[in-house]
């Protein structure tokens, strides 16, 4: 992939803290026009990695580029194309929501009627227009997070970097913002989202990167990582009166990898992660079982995430 196709290119970023915590080496490539989910447990180094990429922290070694340019060397050219929403940001509490957006717009050189319209539209978009004159110090966590997203979008950025953007929001707001991010993405923008909400990431993102103990343990598309864990696909069969002959029959089937038997449930791990529900239904009936129901459980991002972290090594 050429550098021109990359929105973010981090190479071997390393940061060591006084408490000996080591972040890195972190290498990430985020393609333009993708929604990239940055996953990792608390304290894995997600925020530090983001801050190094943005040029807020100078890494001990390595380099970071946004649209091919080092943001710490040329913040004007890079950061004018970027919007950043930090996790539970600490905005100045003396600002009202409108004043903060005006200030952010001012730093981007957006003035006059364009600014007024942009500020009004964004407050409306993130659902805090009714609180535009309220001091930020009186905002709830969810409202501050909404405001963080609004100020990140003030310059109509090509790349939006968001650190846990839906933290503190209620479920309805989370769904609303997921749709909003998809809408922004559909306009040809690149979105980089740090999160530990796996379900959200799976629903929203096209690509992911996983960081664990300061190191990237996976990077690729959602489809790629799920394919790696397809072997975890299981079919749950609810059967009235499970007899040893049924279990023996199923064990001999070519697609069955493993069987776990419960009171009236059989959990079958299938080979190659394929959907063998139709075949299994026939085979259970052939073996004399009375089938009550079948359900497929394929590997989710959560399974892949847990498994990847367990391995603690690259699965690429």
């Amino acid at each position: 992939m050429s550098s021109e196709e990359l929105a973010i290119e981090a190479s071997q970023l390393v940061k060591r803290y006084r408490n000996s915590a080591l972040i890195g080496p972190v290498s990430l490539s985020v393609q333009k026009r993708t929604i990239f989910g940055f996953l990792g447990p608390n304290g894995a180094g997600k925020t530090t990695a983001i801050r190094m990429i943005l040029g807020l922290i100078k890494p001990e070694s390595g380099s970071a580029k946004i649209f091919g340019i080092d943001p710490s060397a040329n913040p004007i050219e890079t950061l004018s194309r970027v919007g950043y929403a930090p996790e539970l940001p600490n905005f100045q509490t003396f600002f009202t929501a409108e004043q903060l957006l005006n200030f952010a717009a001012g730093l981007h050189g957006i003035n006059g009627e364009t600014r007024r319209k942009k500020v009004k539209d964004l407050l409306q978009m993130v659902g805090i227009a009714d609180h535009s004159q309220k001091k930020i110090g009186k905002f709830s966590k969810g409202m501050v997070q909404r405001l963080a997203v609004a100020q990140a979008l003030i310059n109509d950025p090509e790349l939006v970097i968001m650190d846990e953007p839906t933290i503190g929001m209620d479920p309805a707001a989370t769904i609303y913002f997921r749709d909003l991010f998809k809408e922004i993405h559909s306009q040809g923008k690149t979105i980089f989202v740090s999160s530990h909400l796996l379900d959200e990431v799976q629903r929203l993102c096209t690509h992911i990167g996983m960081i664990y103990r300061g190191k990237i343990v996976f990077q690729g598309s959602i489809a790629e990582i799920l394919a790696k864990f397809r072997t975890n696909t299981t079919i749950e069969a609810e059967v009235r009166e499970i007899t040893p002959s049924i279990v023996d029959h199923l064990k001999k089937l070519h697609y069955v990898q493993n069987i776990t038997v419960g009171t009236n449930r059989i959990s079958i791990t299938v080979k190659n992660g394929e959907d063998f529900r139709a075949e299994l239904a026939e085979d259970i009936i052939k073996a004399g079982g009375k089938l009550l129901g079948l359900s497929l459980r394929q590997a989710t991002l959560e399974d892949a995430y847990i498994e990847t972290l367990k391995r603690g090594a690259k699965v690429e």
């Binding site: 950061l79 930090p86 905005f91 003396f94 730093l107 981007h108």
Partner: protein, 290 residues
């Protein structure tokens, strides 16, 4: 958007930020209230005849008195909190993730904080002149008040810069304030001791050291300006003529001292910010890790 617009935007923000701090507001109020003290004392208490003579120079007393100590602390307080508090509270990111160069950020903060200080000094100087006229009638040489004001705000650059530098280096406002205030007080106390040592030993060396203290030019320039403009032939109780607690020198030497002790902290600070390597690791760890 050009550099100056970004710097101006940050400077205006710094005014609001500083004034939103309760401690800064209280210090400003205290400074203004203190301005009234000499007038209350001189009008309410029996004043010795010798001091009666300063009544026609009360505008100068009112201008110089707060500068000696209180205004310096106000300057240090505003400067040390300017960047350090932003790092402590995590609010710096709002600006630093926008298209703003680090040098523009620092310059905007410096200009904002310093002009705020200049405004506070303007209030105290204006109060001094107004109260003097109101309480004691016509004042001598009051037309030089603007020059005195300029001398005062220029002289304060030294400890404003030192405060600004320590704030950026330590990134902990309380520590920065402690260090800057210590430097100021230490220099203030050390000067008379060195003069005493010189008087007792007759050694000129001690007096030479005094001139190299960071407060020498800063503390003496306003009175030097006053002497050069209108106090040449007067001997006043507060030191219009011989001022034996300090070392005499030329106005040029004082200006050079101020320029040196202003530019060195600024240079260190810019170098530290750009290289990020001079920052003490203890504070880097506190504010960068997440």
């Amino acid at each position: 958007m050009n550099n100056s617009q970004r710097i101006l935007t940050i400077a205006k923000y710094e005014w609001r930020r500083a004034l939103a701090r309760k401690k800064v507001s209280l210090l400003i109020i205290l400074t203004i209230v203190t301005e009234f003290v000499p007038y209350i004392v001189l009008t309410q208490l029996p004043i010795p005849q010798a001091i009666q003579s300063i009544k026609s120079f009360m505008w100068l007393v009112g201008t110089i008195l707060p500068y000696g100590l209180l205004l310096q602390f106000v300057a240090i307080f505003i400067a040390t909190g300017s960047t350090a508090e932003e790092y402590e509270q995590g609010t710096a990111d709002t600006i630093l993730t926008k298209p703003v160069r680090r040098t523009e950020y620092l310059l905007g903060k410096f200009v904002g904080g310093y002009t705020l200080f200049a405004f506070i000094a303007l209030i105290t100087s204006s109060l001094a002149v107004t109260l003097s006229y109101g309480v004691f009638g016509p004042q001598q040489y009051a037309e030089y008040a603007p020059m005195m004001y300029i001398a005062i705000i220029f002289s304060t650059l030294v400890f404003f810069s030192i405060g600004f530098m320590t704030g950026e280096l330590f990134r902990v406002s309380s520590l920065a304030y402690l260090v800057s205030s210590t430097i100021f007080i230490f220099a203030l106390v050390l000067g008379p001791f060195l003069i005493l040592a010189s008087t007792l030993t007759g050694d000129q060396f001690y007096l030479d050291i005094v001139k190299w203290l960071p407060n020498w030019g800063s503390s003496n320039l306003p009175m030097m300006v006053a002497r050069a403009l209108f106090l040449q032939n007067l001997r006043l109780p507060f030191g219009g003529g011989d001022f034996n607690l300090t070392v005499s020198g030329t106005m040029t030497e004082a200006i050079v001292s101020i320029i040196i002790y202003t530019s060195v902290p600024i240079a260190i600070e810019v170098a530290a910010t750009l290289s990020d390597s001079l920052l003490p690791s203890i504070t880097k760890g506190i504010h960068s890790f997440s």
